[in-house]
């Protein structure tokens, strides 16, 4: 048995599907954020796997993942700042309660 790219991509795909499911079903903003991280992570993993199996001589996929991690960190920090702010305003972080900014 040989571990080819498919063996790594399928768990990643399942992880992504879980992220989609969680993002749609969850009402809690932090839980949605967690689902988002799952999706992002599975994509990162795909980059690495493709880099390793298809273009082993290059480092592009790895760097893409590296920068994506940095950007994810930034995005999470900001998102959590917003969540805390929303909590302060609503005393709640349910996503259905933050439609005050519509229109």
């Amino acid at each position: 048995m040989e571990l080819n790219a498919l063996y790594y991509l399928i768990p990643s795909l399942i992880m992504f599907a879980c992220g989609v499911y969680g993002f749609i079903t969850r009402r809690n903003m932090i839980a949605m954020l967690i689902s988002l991280e799952l999706m992002l992570n599975s994509v990162d993993m795909n980059f690495v796997v493709f880099n390793r199996f298809l273009f082993p001589g290059q480092l592009d996929g790895m760097f893409f993942t590296l920068f994506a991690i940095a950007i994810a960190a930034a995005e999470t920090a900001l998102a959590i700042a917003i969540v805390v702010n929303v909590y302060r305003a609503n005393n709640d972080i349910d996503v259905r309660d933050i439609c005050k900014m519509k229109f």
Partner: protein, 170 residues
């Protein structure tokens, strides 16, 4: 032909990814969800190590598992009252979520399986050493990443300021 140890470790990692991902999105306790996310991220880091990207695996653990998850946990502790469970999902909403997740799964699986012959290929393992990574990150030539590096650093600065401004007490 893979060694038995390698196969066993693969099975463990793959199972961890699948199980912890599912648990992270189905548990009703938000703090547990964060913990499962942490484990899923660790499993991902293990994949990186297994694929011989040690630096990346380190970054994954340090930044993702060490930074982001801690941040998430803090936020949870700040915004959740102890003992809170998220409400039970209405079956309609869960069905919709399942449909969407399965649709994503199906689309991904279809595109993977139709390109199977491209992917069936033996890996060439080689761990990029720190010298190579550092040169590639801070060089400005072809296949080097100084400009994105700088852009990301400015973005991080903007994020720090933005986070301070948004969460500041008024």
């Amino acid at each position: 032909m893979e060694s038995l140890g390698s196969i066993i470790s693969y099975v463990v990692i793959a199972l961890a990814i699948v199980i912890f991902s599912i648990l992270a999105v189905t548990t009703r306790k938000i703090l547990r969800a964060a913990t499962y996310l942490l484990f899923a991220l660790f499993a991902t880091a293990a994949v990186y190590f297994k694929l011989d990207y040690e630096f990346l695996g380190g970054v994954q653990i340090a930044v993702y598992a060490g930074g982001i998850v801690v941040l998430v946990v803090f936020a949870i502790l700040l915004t959740t009252h102890p003992g809170d469970n998220s409400e039970r999902l209405a079956s309609r909403s869960r069905r919709l979520g399942l449909v969407a997740g399965l649709a994503a799964l199906a689309a991904g699986a279809y595109s993977l399986l139709t390109r199977c012959e491209l992917l069936v290929k033996a890996p060439e393992m080689s761990n990029p050493d720190m010298d190579t990574i550092g040169t590639a990150m801070l060089g400005s030539g072809h296949g080097q990443y100084l400009l994105p590096f700088e852009a990301v650093s400015v973005l991080l600065l903007a994020c720090i300021i933005g986070g301070v401004v948004v969460a500041r007490k008024r």
